[in-house]
Amino acid sequence: MSDSQTTTLQPAHQHHDPSLLVQFDSADQQKDASQFGMWVFLITEIMFFGGLFGAYLIYRNLYNPAFVAASTSIDIRLGAVNTVVLICSSLTMAMGVHSAALGARKLLVFWLVATLVLGGVFLGIKAVEYHEKYVEHHIPGANFDFNYERVKNGEQPVPADVATQTSIFFALYFAMTGMHAMHMIIGAGILIFLIWRAYKGAYPPHHYTMVENFGLYWHFVDIIWIFLFPLLYLVSRSPVH
């Protein structure tokens, strides 16, 4: 039997810095593989949210007047502020990765904490919004009544079938922002862990892949919101219809 298919190059076990895992041949390979893996994971997230965006697309086309009415009823100021908050948190996260690359440990901790704070602000505003929806009977289910708020404000109530269709908008609103918020909460949890580890000096310039990969996740969650904001809050607010 021939064994010419393989010859030997180097022993399988090598001694390197402690952060090099045994299955990798070099720190470069480890970092490359790690980052590639993170991007593949983000693709799964794209497909995850994609299902919701697909459903949204279909219903918006089917029930356009209901979507316009429903979208106009949610608070654009809170939505816009949240968009700004998340964009700022992306900046702070990018600055955090930058500090890690330069080995500036205290700055890294500062930027990570800033990102966490901004994330917390986002979630807080979201909670306020959800409470508003609850008070206004916009949560689909037994208490749903789209015309409740409109009548209360002295606006013209929408026809009954349009009112029913707005529950689809709100179902999607809660599903999409809810999934997004869940991702933010998980991100905040990981951020707390990262802050603690960064404080302990676990992310020197030659091994800060974890911070970088988390940054990718955080930016991705920001991108989801960048799409959610116009789709949910800005369907059509022009006074002329």
Partner: protein, 547 residues
């Protein structure tokens, strides 16, 4: 090491293997070794397969008589649902990738382990948790929606444990995603020096293609299940017509994953066959590039055909036309593989070892299953045979006659590598024959039943269908015997089987260059690859293959 006189050499088990490198519960349950994780998966999915088989047995028992006399109709609904759910999500989707794939892919690419061993271990735990939820659902009374969970039945009208089951499937889906992610990164980034893409074994290409599907399709299932859970739990109405929702939207989202899922199941099976045929025909595979590219083509095209499950659901005729047309296209890469395997056999020196028996059975049974898929893809025919036993026969031909047979082929082929022992050849050949006979007896009558109009998922039927149903149930009992036999003789071989040596079949591939079983880090020294794959023609000595 020469294996020319293997039969006369007293081989010994290697001293340093992944099995004896460390002992104790923690060394297994906290392992990062892809080989140990593969073994844990083999045990887990075998248990799930047995469970799914029990449900199948009960279904076939009920169908012996035209009246629904063994079970209530609601109970029967639960039986076929749990059979489907357990088999699809507990056995078929993980199957070859998590067992043979986990074990072999790092070795085949020349690496010491997968890219992310901890994620690999996590995926096993996640699978177990998912199965636990499913078991909890079964024990608390089961689900009767059909494995397809169509709305609004699953969201509005049923009081059974849809949530538990949906959560279990959701969790198991993450296991699948992590496995696929691991494989993709490993194949891209961890190949040994000289191992170019086109020197990779086709088994790797097949699992790579399946991994692409796992990663892209499963998340859509996840969000679909979450929406079903929200609808059931909170009363939102995305799929509820009374609230403006569309039940067909559920079907679109569900089948967007579940059709590519069948390619997750079959592609690794194709990979196994592509390894076995050249080895036991002693010939280089015919058309390596064609098989490699067709795997990728199937992965891509498989995402374009999902609504062929929905021809009578109320989709527009025009979109049905598109989906039907692409369904015909997706058959082409599969056919290319069948032609290439057959061409490999032509003028080969064929050895009828057990893996080869299963591989030959695969080619025939998969062809039947695949062609009947084309009948179903033709809208006019589909209108008559959809939701009948014709569909049931079709997918059992591809899933059982295809995928399960390939799984058995692969388990037999690589059993010596994984365990260091040969299985006993005579019982193995006998059980292969019994499986083949039992399988055809079970499912061929179902094509006829479906064509004659017997609907699926019914626990009673008109008396004129009884003869065929009895044949089918008889076949099922034969099939059960054939499938249970390997459980016994494989376990027997662990202690009493002949020691295999590094390469009992004189196969090519990096996995055969290392010991059986391999050491924990797969190779004592990192290999450099200088030769093309399947280089059987340069082995000129005619040697009797062990078995």
């Amino acid at each position: 090491m020469s294996t020319a006189t293997q039969n006369s050499l007293a081989l010994e088990m290697p001293s340093d293997t992944y099995l004896n490198s460390s002992y104790g519960v923690k060394s297994w349950f906290l392992t990062g070794d892809h080989k140990r994780i593969a073994v844990m998966y083999i045990v887990s999915i075998s248990l799930m397969f047995l469970l799914g088989g029990i449900f199948a047995t009960l279904v076939r028992l009920e169908l012996l008589t035209p009246q629904g006399d063994l079970f209530q109709s609601d109970t029967y609904n639960k039986l076929f649902t749990m059979h489907g759910v357990v088999m699809v999500f507990g056995f078929l989707v993980p199957s070859i990738p998590v067992t043979l794939g986990n074990f072999l892919i790092p070795i085949m690419v020349g690496a010491r382990d997968l890219a992310f061993p901890k994620i690999n271990l996590a995926s096993w735990y996640i699978y177990i948790i998912g199965m636990a939820f499913m078991l909890a659902a079964i024990i608390s009374g089961g689900v009767d929606t059909g494995w397809t969970f169509y709305t609004p039945l699953s969201t509005q009208y049923l009081t059974t444990h849809v949530m538990f089951t949906a959560i279990g499937i959701l969790i198991a889906g993450f296991s699948s995603i992590f496995t696929g992610l691991n494989f993709i990164v490993t194949v891209h980034r961890m190949r040994a020096p000289g191992m170019t893409w086109f020197r990779l074994p086709l088994f790797v290409w097949a699992n790579y293609a399946a991994s692409i599907i796992m990663v892209l399709g499963t998340p859509v299932l996840a969000i679909t299940l979450i929406l079903v859970a929200l609808e059931r739990g909170l009363g939102i109405g995305i799929f509820n017509p009374a609230m403006g929702g569309d039940p067909v939207l559920f079907q679109h989202l569900f089948w967007f994953y579940s059709h590519p899922a069948v390619y997750i199941m079959i592609l690794p099976g194709f990979g196994v066959i592509s390894e076995i045929i050249p080895c036991f025909a002693r010939k280089r595979i015919f058309g390596y590039s064609a098989i490699a590219f067709s795997s990728i083509a199937i992965a891509v095209f498989g995402f374009l055909v999902w609504a062929h499950h929905m021809f009578i659901a109320g989709i527009s005729t025009y979109s049905a036309l598109i989906f039907s047309f692409v369904t015909f296209l997706v058959a082409i890469p599969s056919a290319i593989k069948v032609f290439n395997w057959t061409a490999t056999l032509y003028k080969g020196s064929i050895h009828f070892d057990t893996p080869m028996l299963y591989a030959l059975a695969f080619i025939g049974l998969f062809t039947i299953g695949g062609l009947t898929g084309l009948f179903l893809g033709a809208i006019g025919v589909d209108v008559h045979v959809t939701a009948t036993y014709f569909v049931v026969a079709h997918f059992h031909y591809v899933m059982v006659g295809g995928m399960l047979v390939a799984y058995l082929a692969g388990m037999h082929f690589w059993w010596p590598k994984m365990t260091g022992r040969m299985y006993p050849e005579a019982p193995a050949k006998l059980s292969a024959l019994i499986v083949f006979i039992g399988f055809n007896l079970t499912f061929f009558p179902q094509f006829i039943l479906g064509y004659m109009g017997m609907p699926r998922r019914y626990h009673s039927y008109p008396p004129e269908f009884q003869v065929l149903n009895v044949l089918s149930s008889a076949g099922a009992s034969v099939l059960a015997v054939g499938l249970l036999m390997p459980m016994f003789y494989m376990l027997w071989s662990l202690k009493y089987g002949e020691v295999a040596g590094n390469n009992p079949y004189r196969a090519t591939g990096l996995e055969w260059q290392t010991t059986s079983p391999p050491p924990t880090h797969n190779f004592h020294e990192t290999p450099i690859v200088t030769q093309e794959a399947y280089d059987y023609e340069s082995q000129t000595e005619e040697v009797e293959v062990v078995g």
